[in-house]
Every structure is written in C-alpha cells, then in structure tokens.
Amino acid sequence: MRHTAGRLNRVWLSIIGVILVLGAGVTAAIGLGLLEGRTVAGIRAPERDQPILNLNHEPATTTTIAAVLVIAGIIIGILCVLWLLAQVPRKHGASDLKLQDPDNRGLTVLKPGLLEDAISDRVEELEDVTGATTIIRGSSRAPDITVRITTTSHADLPRVIADVEHRITNDLNLTLGRGPASLGIAIEVKADPKNDDTVTFQPSSAHT
C-alpha cells in the first residue's frame, strides 16, 4: 500500500558495507603483516610497527582534529537524520484531481480523499468484504488505484476479486468517465469470530 524506502536502504547499506570492509580489511591486513613491503597503485604499504598516524601534540594539530570532527560530524549527522526520516512509509497519493470539461470552460477540483472514501465504502458493501482502504495515485485521466480489502475466511476469493474489480471499474466509469489505468488489490483475511455469543449483522445492499 504505502511506499517504503527499500531501494535507498539497500543502496546505502551496500555502500557503507563496502567502505567498512575495505577500510577495516586493509587496516587488519597491514596489522597482520600481510601487506609487508608491497606496493599497491604506487602507494607503499606502511610498516606494521609504525603508528597509524604520526601526530604531534601541538595545539595546532588538536585544533585541526577538532575542526575535522565538527565538520565531518555535521555532514554525517544531517545525512543520518535524512535517512531516518526516509524510513517513514509514504502514501505518495494524488494531489487534488482536476476535472476539466471537454470545452475547457470550467474546472472542478476534487480532493482525492473523498473519492478514496467513496471507493472504500462502495467496496465494503460487497459480500464477504469486511473492510477496505483505498489510495489513489496519479491523475483523474489515468488514476492508479490501490485497494486493500479484508475478507472473511469463508470467502470465495476469486469471486471477491472479480467483484471488487467490477465494482471499482464501473463506479469510476460513471464518475470520472473512464476506468482506472491500473488497479492493485491486496487481500487480507480476518478470522471469523470464534465465540458463538457474538453475531455480526450487515445491512443488506439491495440498492446496488
């Protein structure tokens, strides 16, 4: 239903993984003496007894280190906050639907939420469907509709799917003048109530 940052996560996890493996691998290889006396791409591997960095204890060095820490910390910190914010699932729904008449004389603006609620309500009227949520993406000319329905476990799923598709296509044809450009139906199954002392009544949908 909602979009998540799967690709972003995988790309960044790979990049960080490669950096860690290369950096730490080279450090460990030098430390274990595996690169002793070797030259890679014109850079001579340091002797393993040398300190990693030869820093003196002058105030200028301390200032440089502190400045580097602050700058690197700010950059990495901002990137991390952005990465964390990207984890929130996004609806990426349509903005207001603009319906134009054929002669281009008038414009009707429709909040997609209204249409989403209408579709959900109409789908919930169907037999064996106990709940529905809808997301509309794209434009009124080519609406991309995703609907998540909840059915009971005694439902005949292929029939329910056909019903839902038929209902949505028909309704959109009536209201927007065209069917959905694409339609996705996710089905969730909810167990029937187990205890015999609860009974669920549904209003009859005689006028459908």
Binding site: G6, L13, G31, L69, H154, A181, G184, A191
Partner: protein, 182 residues
Amino acid sequence: MSTPTTRRSIRKRPSRSVPASIVALVLLAAAVTAVWGGITALTGGNTAVTEGVTGAVSVPWSAQAAYIPSIAVALIGVALIITALIPGRHDAHLVKHEGASEAALTGRGLRTYLEDRAMTIDGVDSARASLKGRQARIRIGTYALDHDEVQKDVHQRLRATVDSLDLKNARRIRVNTSTLNN
C-alpha cells in the same frame, strides 16, 4: 510518445528499514559525539574526545587494539552487504486473475485462511499454519484416536482450497498431525 511506467507491484520485498535505522542511529550517535567533542575542544573546554582520537590513531598498525576491532568491523561490513543484496521474500502471493488488475493475498491472510479452513473439518481441534519456501505447513492437533484419517481429510480439503485460490506459485501442502491428550 513516451511509454507509461509500470505501476509498483502490490506486493513488496522487505525494505530493510530495521538494519538501515540501526546503522543510521549508530552513525548519528558517533556524529553527535564528534561534533560535541570538537566544539568543546575548540572552545577550550574538555578535550577528552580529541585526545581519544589522537591516542587511537597513534597506536602501531600491528597492535591488537588496531587489528582485532578492524576484523570485527570488516565482518559487520560483510553482514551489511549481505543484508542489502539478499532480496528477501515477497509479503504477498499473486492470485491468477483474468482482469486488468493485480491481486495479491498477503502471507498472513493465506495463513489465516488455511487455519480457518482446517478448523472447519471434522476432528480438527487446533490448527496452525506456517509458510516456508514453496510449502504451506499446517500443524493440526486432534483428540481423534485415528488421526491418519483426519490428516488425509485435511490434506485433501486444503489442497482443494489452495487450488481454488489460483495462486501464481501454488503452495504444496504438508500436514503434521499430533494427538492431543492431557
């Protein structure tokens, strides 16, 4: 004329948001420490962080304090790459369908469906379904003395149920029966 892009599928592979959040939080903590340490050092306050950095990079390459953490960090890197590259399972099963739409039954939905169908069969007193690979495994408990018959019945009925669902990758059904007694 441009070709329309295809819609995102109704089913998803895991988005790896838990490992991503953990890595982001660890890096964020390191960044906050670095900024705080750098600023306190620059303003003439506590220099513990900068001294720590100086001390850490002054050890020789061959020191245990250098290569043992390096190996651990390299292993974490390998784990991150593996997590990123393994695609993971889809969270729903596509249903074969004539129309224009794409329909998918969620994994949890399929489990509930199979469990409830099994519970409607005579002799079954408890049912638990799990999906593994291309198999749907149903563990049923029964008080019936002859549980072979119940098992056969469950297997047959659930096979028919799965066939009627018309899933794109049909699951094989495996039934384990245990006799419940107290």
